[in-house]
Amino acid sequence: MNDRVKHLFIWPAFLLVLVITLFPLIYALTVSFQTIRIVPPTPPRFVGFDNYGDILANARFWGAIGTTATIVVISVVLQYVIGLSVALALHHNVPGASLFRVTFLLPMFLAPVCVALIAKMIFHPVLGPANEFFTLFGLENLPFLTDPNFAIAVLITIETWQWTPFVVLLMLAGLQGLPAEVFEAARVDNISAWRRFRDITFPMLLPLSAAVIFIRLIEGFKIIDTVFVLTGGGPGTSTETLTLFAYNEGFKKFNIGMTSALSFLFLIVVIVFGTLYLAGARKLTQRYEQ
């Protein structure tokens, strides 16, 4: 057989992949070095690193990084801690586990916009059930969405509420994949439940945990819909996340060059956080390597 035939199969696929993945990226990269306005349309003009310089000098950008990081880090920690606890409970078949199994997964299936709309009603400062609940403790009309700290807390709550089920699902699958005999051996050897968790379950789940947290971190950084619906980034820009900031630049000012530059900076931010995280996770998993 003539080996040249293989090129017939390989190249079209390769080119297709190249065109649909690399081209947009490269195009966006070139655009990020230009000034392009759609409204009013102005011809592209090469400006070098000006877009990047402008953004880096903009306090709003740094504020958005801070806001995003706060929301993501705190909510992912909560998601993991609560998620793993619930998964453990489900795995050990606490009473009511089967009911839980179904209801607990529901939030994950909702569109974030719907979640945000529901949350907006729940956290209404006068009419919402959250207000009624806090009124019981004498805390009336808390500014859930209008005070920066409260608003961030609400966003963290919603993120946690929506994405903990994802963590539960994966951690439960992980737990059920662990070899039962190992735990029986530990039980026969009179190892307490807590030590079994600390010394056996947790280390054996570490690689999975690292992956789950990584997925949630990367996904979390893209948070936009809940913020958009709930606070619109306000009050002021105190809850503006990176993606919302980019959206505002792109679709309110129609400055495409600036938005592209912002996207690449966003990519860099995610890579920086991701790398830091992976380095830390690596250290931990290596200690318990099998």
Binding site: P179, E181, V182, E184, A185, A186, R187, V188, D189, N190, I191, S192, R195, D199, I200, P203, M204, Y288, E289, Q290
Partner: protein, 353 residues
Amino acid sequence: MEHIEFRKISKSYGAVEVVPPLDLSIEQGEFIVLVGPSGCGKTTTLRMLAGLEETTSGDIFIDGENITDKRPGDRNCAMVFQNYALYPHMSVRDNIGYAMKVHGAAKADIDARVEEAAGLLGLSEYLDRKPRNLSGGQRQRVAIGRALVRQPQVFLFDEPLSNLDAKLRVEMRSEIKLLQRRLGTTAVYVTHDQVEAMTMADRVVVMRSGVIEQVDAPITLYERPANKFVASFIGSPSMNFFDARIENDQLLLGHQRLQLAAQEAERIGDFGRVIFGIRPEHCRDSEAAAQLTFGVEVIEPLGSNTLLLGTVGDQKIMAQVDPRFAAQADAPSTIPIDMSAAHFFDPITEVRL
């Protein structure tokens, strides 16, 4: 002295009774082997003793103390599993010493005992390896080491050797037996391999669908099986069985007549219908030998002896004969049967006569 006692313990899963009420008592320092075909409830019985499975009814005593409702950790047993069940992320050293460490033993003590166990089991050079870098035999040794260092009252083994290759199995079974004898710890060992059971046990418990068929020393099981099931299960190649009749001190097998040994003749000389059992290795000459002719179909020379496979009438027979025994395939052959080693069972109850 009695060490472990099962009193009418039973186990049901829903409506299915896997182990009907069962009684068994085990002496201090004894090596007991539970043996039986797959699914007969050996593992279930062992796990009830370990506390990993709740009993449906009945009580278990260790050292006179009722431990039926105690947690597995409070029974002072150590268990070795078929799939090793090692902690995959811990080194051999940590695997062996883990329980001691959790229970607050001093580091020097742990090290000393781990080293000692490792030396005993030939694991000294592997102490810092992770389980996945060990062979199956080494892994099982680690599992045994982990049980050893705890110095438990009772060792529990659930088919610890069935994942190992034949040669290693033979080595390990004598090692385990030797270790147990040296330590003097009571051991309960589950296997479906009758050779393992015979070679290791002080007493063998033969089980069939949850019921204990016989509890005896290996040689007794072989020489005086309590019923047809035990007779067929113990010994390899396994015993031949024939539907036959006993009349006038003679065994009627088809139209052949075999003279019974003197003491048998006295006991059951006119019994009527019986199941006649003879082991292949007892097709040999002796004072009480009778001659049996059968059609040889296959000859299997094994070196030290030869197996003849054939039929008597329409019943299958396997005979173990001298390698130079003159026999031809597809021709009748006459072999001696040592009637003093014959077994007779009731045709209905299958109980030994």
